[in-house]
Symmetry: C2
Subunit: 365 residues, 2 copies
Amino acid sequence: MSTLLLSCADLRQIVRRAGVDEIMDRLIERLADALMSYDPERTEIPMRAGFHYEKPFAGLIEWMPLLEKQRSMLMKVVGYHPESPGNQRLPTILSNLGKYDPSNGRLVALVDGTFLTAMRTGAASAVASRILAHPDSSRVGLIGCGAQSVTQLHALTRVFGVREVQIHDIDPAAEASFPARVRSFLDPAVAIHAMAPAEMVSDVDILCVATSVAIGAGPVFEFGQTRPWLHVNAVGSDFPGKIEVPKSLLLAAYVCPDALDQARREGECQQLLLDQIGHDLVAITQRSADFVGKRTGLTVFDSTGWALEDQVAMDLLLEYARKFGIGSQVQIEQISNDPRDPYEFLCPDDAQRADKQMRPAGDAA
Amino acid sequence: MSTLLLSCADLRQIVRRAGVDEIMDRLIERLADALMSYDPERTEIPMRAGFHYEKPFAGLIEWMPLLEKQRSMLMKVVGYHPESPGNQRLPTILSNLGKYDPSNGRLVALVDGTFLTAMRTGAASAVASRILAHPDSSRVGLIGCGAQSVTQLHALTRVFGVREVQIHDIDPAAEASFPARVRSFLDPAVAIHAMAPAEMVSDVDILCVATSVAIGAGPVFEFGQTRPWLHVNAVGSDFPGKIEVPKSLLLAAYVCPDALDQARREGECQQLLLDQIGHDLVAITQRSADFVGKRTGLTVFDSTGWALEDQVAMDLLLEYARKFGIGSQVQIEQISNDPRDPYEFLCPDDAQRADKQMRPAGDAA
């Protein structure tokens, strides 16, 4: 009885072997499939909860559980600490995901969630944009050039013919380093320009907003002139009081939340009444033909982050781990000849079972 | 940035080196201290939540978070699957505990929770019994002879002069194997007898009830003649509808819950009105002199299991791990030169950082 551990180094190996484009492509397709077949009777996703605090630094740690009945239980623990890149050289978002077997409660796998979170958030925007954005979208704007902006752009390049990228960040260093951070996947022919938000809004087909704006300090841009169509992926609003998109734009647009209850509490939908909010990501995926008409107007995907996305990403990464034989089998949980005896190991004849704790993945029982 | 992993094998080593008596003694004292200084303004403990299901086997997986402000955040994930010992040779209770740093969200330590849960549940009963049971208690009764009964008895032997142990389990195999499972700590002079519950209730000073009785099937014994005093540690009732202790006994006794709201939802206190419930474990610890008079009557500790107990046990085991240099440093979370770049590791010059993932504990950065 052991747990498969996929560390950041293991994920690195998986990405190098499979290629980041292939992984993103599969993730987008798997997520679309999972949304298409999503059944709330089969998969329970309670609203996430968490601890929020101001000291020692403003931040939160949340838990996001999911149960796919008779198949698997997922627990994602995710920390959001926007001062971390500046004061500790750590990512704003740190997380891990545990996968449990609901037939006995054992921890089947534990996976680093930082890379996974960035990938699945990008994939979710690609799925929503494929339904709600103009199909000929070629100009992408990014407000906020942190870790999430990289995977937002990457995912969009997999489903649109992106030719121009406009970027903005209040931190000049984040703008300056952005081109280097996307060179691993971006066609060198694609132009990247820094551009003020007001101009960007009037220029782009798809706008992704992913900032660490403080509670009460948003929105991060103004709603002015746009092209006839504009699709916004509103990624950073995921906390009560934190918003990025002007209410006037939301009111003028068709707004699709990833998860309605959560978006009303934490997302851009905080700014809206219930009847001002459109269908959720599951609904527009399952009935996408009904929403084709939205592509030539204003649309917003209110992405607060949903555990179904995490489940899809985790299962995909576990598949690659098995295929490549990557990861460690770690004996975390208690094994026992007699499950009724918590002190069994105190007996001398048990010594031979206090054996090696780490085995290579291929050697799993 | 690495995570200290304490597996079952590591805990085994710690217990062998420190001795199970010393660990239990310290755990009891630390828990009493933590209850004495507990301040809900400093330590937030939300009620646990979870998934409950009947298939493939009746069970539940719950999460128990705790935040000690500016110090640490704990997430315990615990599975309860009473058919596991019979059909999978796994413990009924499997769990793990993650300790997070609330200044940045990183996972500081991950510890197997099965042994820890059994130890801390025993320690909680010892703390409650020391306040509420007759100080000369020497006869202990155990209804239910599974894993929890072992640590219940062990903890009681550390604070009372136990001379006789009466046991009962509906499974004869559990009764038969009990003496062997307590030989590592129990004075061989202490007599162990199988005894029917009705007789046991009239015989013992302290009764511990820890069964896997099904929802709706309790109580597991009848309230009949007792000595002038009897203290009951009601351990197994931890689920809506699951009870072990007869309501008539609860109504005749002073009932102390570990955590009031949780006990009213999941514990024996489900059977009581609010004004039939006494003070909680924090209150009787902080004002123990006020409760001395209860020791010569009927008392019940309604133990549903509280995250504060887990925090105390985890911190103690982490202290031993540091002292003995036991445990593995595991690089689970993403490290990066640039926290804004989730794809940094795709660049060739990063190759030297995709290095060893496991280091011995003493080699931690």
